[in-house]
Amino acid sequence: MTQYDVRKIRQDFPILDEKIRGKDLVYLDNAATCQKPQAVIDSIVNLYSHDYANVHRGVHTLSVRSTDKFEGARTKVKDFINAASEKEIIFVKGATEAINLVAQTYGKANIKPGDEIIITAMEHHSNIVPWQILCEQTGAVLRVAPINLQGELIYDEFEKLLGDKTRLISVVHMSNALGTINPVKKIIAAARAKGIPVLLDGAQAVPHMTVDVRDLDCDFYAFSGHKLYGPTGVGVLYGKQALLEAMPPYQGGGDMIRKVTFEETEYNVLPYKFEAGTPEIAGVVGLGAAIDYLNAIGMDKIAAYEAELLAYATEKARQIKGLRIIGEAEHKGAILSFVLDKIHPHDIGTMLDSLGIAIRAGHHCAMPVMDFYKVPATARASFAMYNTIQEIDVLMNGIESLIEVFG
């Protein structure tokens, strides 16, 4: 763990000094949302204190400054995921809206009755429901590629689903409930051979690994800012320019138009065509600051450090009698989902909270995954770049103690 100074990183996150019920906070709910470094908090305060006005509107100084910061953040996002152009970076509310946008624009324009859309059995509800809605609207059919007990996509079964009727594949890059990292390059290559576009839900992947959309060759990539140490209320849809150009707009309003008369409206160029209304300016600027912060540390270093955390946590968890890890994919991100014999995840969550440990207990917006494992819910500890080996020890001691109490 040389060159990775987690203590210094922790000092950048003011909330990590909070006491919870008198105990040191151990924040392990990062898959739900990540905490914010001071640099992100400051970027928002600074914008509102010195540079704020509406973007793309006025000739006055503040509007220009605000627009520069806003568009500067777009360039940062473009570079962060290695998109070809700023035109391919659409700001939305979050990964959920990004997926809905594709379903309601690309989907509605291109999907016909009898067409098929493929997802996997490990998707978050946000990558299931938008397609169900689209299927209802168009008469298309949703096909679900199965997973095995380790929580891995059964690739052969997925490939069998690819057919003449397949019009779109939408797959999670890294599962929020299981931690599984899908073989997305292989999926995309297979889809490419048949001319099928692929959307990747990258909400969990972006904070944990280097994502290069051109290397992946995906057609769409969706993620949220708040899981990337940025503010809530902002997310990104990446789309290949040619696809975005051909798509109808998502919402109508200001900023997305070039010329409006009561007879007809000419839409604005990319990316503005998809950004109707005043955007989440401060959120976008904050996301830009989060990306600067991550770049200064290095995504590869973060990934390597988190891999060590996960390996340590997994090894410790395996030693606890009565603990069953849910999701043991070979290729996995820093998420440890588990259940305990005869102790409900909600009891685990409340008991750990009394020790200052924040984990998630529930279905993680992935009810089909819970059904697959025949559990009502799981407890989930999800790690971030600021977590430590010591915190994992606190978690594991807590789990062992609560098993004792429940007896």
Binding site: V375, A377, S401
Partner: protein, 150 residues
């Protein structure tokens, strides 16, 4: 280690969680209603055998957290022999106790159920305790469809 939680997880609750009472199916039950808490995945099926307007027998099946299991287990014990009206009155009281809106709520008026008063301090867990009673309420009103806490 878990001293702060003693009010929430009393020994009676652990006992009912380990050995839930009336955990069985009543064949040919007069009333059978499902309760579901979508937030945590708690599911239970409540069975009632009626004798006129008196609850002659009550039982349940399902899975949930310790709070919800203890709550439904205690409830099936306590409502047996009560009229529908008396059971509804208890539900009202239980609701008042668990939501903590009445600061002067007298725990002595609710008997054994007082062990669940601790959830007042844990807003996220109130629904765990009340799921059983909402399901009972639906059963008394003879509503057939599954009920949900959401």
């Amino acid at each position: 280690m878990f001293d702060d939680l003693r009010d929430l997880y009393q020994e009676v609750i652990f006992d009912h969680n380990r050995n839930p009472r009336n955990f069985r199916i009543i064949e040919n039950a007069d009333r059978k209603v499902e309760g579901f808490n979508p937030l945590c995945g708690d599911r239970l099926t409540l069975y009632l055998q009626m004798d006129g307007d008196v609850i002659a027998d009550a039982s349940f099946q399902g899975s949930g957290c310790a709070i919800s299991t203890a709550s439904v287990s205690l409830m099936t014990e306590i409502v047996k022999g009560k009229t529908e009206e008396e059971a509804e009155e208890l539900f009202k009281k239980f609701h008042e106790m668990t939501t903590g809106k009445d600061e002067n709520f007298n725990l002595e008026t609710i008997g054994k159920l007082a062990v669940l008063a601790g959830v007042r301090e844990y807003p996220a867990r109130v629904k765990c305790a009340t799921l059983a009673w909402h399901t009972l309420d639906a059963a008394i009103k003879n509503e057939q469809q599954a009920i949900s806490t959401e």
